[in-house]
Amino acid sequence: MEASPVRIDDSAAHWQDILRGATEAVAVPVLAVLAALVLFGLFVTIAGVDPFDTYSLMYAGAFGSWFSWQNTLTRAAPLILTALCCALPAQLGMVVIGGEGALVIGGLAAAAIAMALPDSAPLVLQIAMAIAAMAAGAAWVALAGGLRHWRGVNETIASLLLVYIAVAVFNQLVEGVLRDPASLNKPSTPHIGDANMLTTIPGTDIHWGLAYGVIACLLAYILIYRTTFGFGMRVAGGNVKAARMVGLPVGRLVLVACGLAGAAAGLAGMVEVAAVHGKANASLIVGYGYTGILVAFLARHNPLAIVPVAILLGGIGASGGLLQRRLGLPDATVLVLQGLIFIAILTSEVLYGRLPWLKRKPS
């Protein structure tokens, strides 16, 4: 670029750049999802089903009516929080895949505190449950972060192995000291009481977990992109040696990022207990933590993108039943679509900066 003529032009170019970046950030994933849908259409055609029937049923099942929307959003709610568990440490270049463990431990802590405070007012109890769940989840993932920072243990493996430990601890306690003796054939903790349950968002049958998730994503976005702490996270994620050189407290960044991540997943566990089941039992361990990893990667670890991506996956889950019932497709069909979207999004990374109509014109 030559010596720039006037300042105002620079500013215009600057805004053009921002617009170009934003368009790209939307266009690339949308193209990827479209490509995955085309491939999926081929797949169902081979399975002997009309692809356009499939698309229209999927739309009807996921977004076609108010009922379908509520179905989709209810399924999306836990995924938003567990996705944050993967996305926050990712800012530091860490791949934490143990959200499931933090969710399970969080749910357990929430149920345990409810047993310890039987006579509290509902609001007090709910806050206590949330705090207990977030603290337990935070400690769980921070453990993986600490092992990484102080002992050089790979955080991906550590967090994954901690899931198995979490599930074992959970089962041991739920089938042991925390068990409600009346839960004969499905060992569970005692019910927290109907009065203490989280309610639904007015006018819907969606529980408040969805709102918690959206708020948590907004806070995470502000933390990452609008605070010094977040800037430090991103610097350390870019080059940890450089971060140390400039005096950033890398250890603290790692522990806090992992702690916040675990708190998000732990809160998801508390919501499952307080809004859905009313007690902790094996129904908590259904893989929300693992689906959250998929959501985080699809959202490219951007907290604001997590919300629409979780809704997309919630919608796929919501429409899956209709595909089974109306078209006789097996349940695995939905997994095929999820897999195709995942691969398409990962492949689409190469498109950034290469889309011809979004290229910056050489001046």
């Binding site: 099942g61 179905n71 039943g321 019932r325 097996p330």
Partner: protein, 370 residues
């Protein structure tokens, strides 16, 4: 009674009969077409186990005609099952739903039954209490009767007298099967023992295979199980050349040589019965329980290795169970720590509520609850 449900008979012109019957029960929108009935499974419907047994029941209903059968598999015991039920009701007009997994009941099915009081819900697990909605029901079978017969056959056929049982969790339903199996085996061979291994969860294929191999290495020569899918256990047993008693459905195809007999659900008989009664507008049965006598459970045909003596004894007891004149849990029964759990002179018949709280392993079972 056929005319009550059949759409064909209506079309054939027996309108008078059909109309009276149909007018009785179905919600308005469903009268003109086949009543939609939903089935929800917690795992894959071809698992050679728990879910397949239910899918076979759904298939029997489909074969009968006159119903639109909706099926959904791999639905977890979370909000997902609530939404699946609701979707079947809202989008497919289901008038009767069968959520077939134990954990679907509370809070999920109860919540939906309150919300959709015109729709009927029938759950597998036998959990209904009078606090629950009237349009909700729950059913279960005394399958321990068939595990008792499994035990008799296993006791006669085993050469080592060492039997194996691979179980998911130490909960009453499972303990009752282990105990019935062992009591049956001791009828045939008083010295028989059952080594039990708990895997910790309903579907743990790798652990189930390890457990089966471990038992075989200890000299066990007949195994059975109570897990969601016995496929791995049955196949491992066959491969290692030992014998096996089936569970949930008939697995003889997986072990043509070593399959002795099996404890099977008979949902093929119950589901058409329940669907017909719903279509006929009869009152929903809130609690359905039954064993061999009521046709809720059945046994697999004997395999080639079962000798005449074993067949005769098992058939004899089966006839008594079918007649309702036999008690499996008949005192004195001791647990495997030496405590008397059912006193001399006490008969705990199938409907005895005490059996639902079972928390012990009988004498002859090697293993512990915790």
């Amino acid at each position: 009674m056929e005319f009550k449900l059949s759409r064909r008979s209506l079309l054939q012109g027996t309108a008078a009969l059909g109309a009276t019957a149909l007018a009785a029960g179905l919600p308005f929108g469903a009268r003109a077409k086949d009543a939609a009935i939903g089935f929800i499974y917690v795992g894959p419907r071809d698992d050679f186990g728990y879910n397949q047994a239910h899918a076979q029941g759904a298939a029997a209903l489909k074969k009968l005609g006159g119903f639109k059968v909706l099926e959904e598999e791999n639905v977890p015991e979370t909000v997902a099952v609530e939404k699946t039920m609701e979707s079947m009701i809202n989008l497919d007009g289901a008038v009767l739903v069968f959520p077939t997994s134990f954990g679907y009941y509370n809070p999920h099915m109860v919540k939906l039954a309150k919300k959709y009081d015109k729709v009927r819900f029938l759950h597998c697990g036998g959990l209904w209490s009078d606090k629950d909605p009237a349009n909700a029901g729950s059913y279960f079978g005394y399958i321990d009767e068939c595990q008792y017969l499994n035990g008799i056959v296993a006791g006669y056929t085993s050469k080592t007298g060492k039997l194996g049982f691979i179980a998911a969790k130490p909960i009453p339903q499972v303990l009752r099967n282990i105990n019935a199996f062992t009591l049956g085996a001791k009828l045939a061979n008083p010295n028989a023992t059952t080594q039990v291994i708990f895997t910790g969860d309903w579907s743990m294929p790798v652990k189930e295979a390890e457990a089966t191999n471990g038992l075989i290495n200890q000299g066990v020569d007949v195994v059975t199980c109570h897990v969601d899918s016995p496929k791995v256990v049955v196949e491992t047993a066959e491969k290692r050349g030992i014998m096996v008693c089936g569970y949930h459905v008939n697995q003889s195809k997986l072990a043509p040589k070593g399959y002795l007999t099996g404890a099977e659900w008979n949902w093929e008989e119950l589901y058409p019965k329940l669907a017909k009664s719903a279509a006929g507008g009869e009152k929903l049965p809130n609690l359905v329980r039954g064993g061999l006598k009521e046709g809720v459970v059945k046994t697999s045909a004997y395999g080639p290795l079962v000798e005449e003596k074993a067949r005769k004894h098992a058939d004899d007891i089966k006839a008594k169970l079918t007649a309702g004149s036999y008690v499996i849990f008949k005192g004195p029964i001791k647990d495997n720590k030496g405590n008397t759990v059912i006193a001399t002179g006490t008969d705990r018949g199938q409907t005895d509520i005490e059996l639902e709280k079972m928390n012990y392993l009988v004498e002859g079972v090697l293993g512990a609850l915790a």
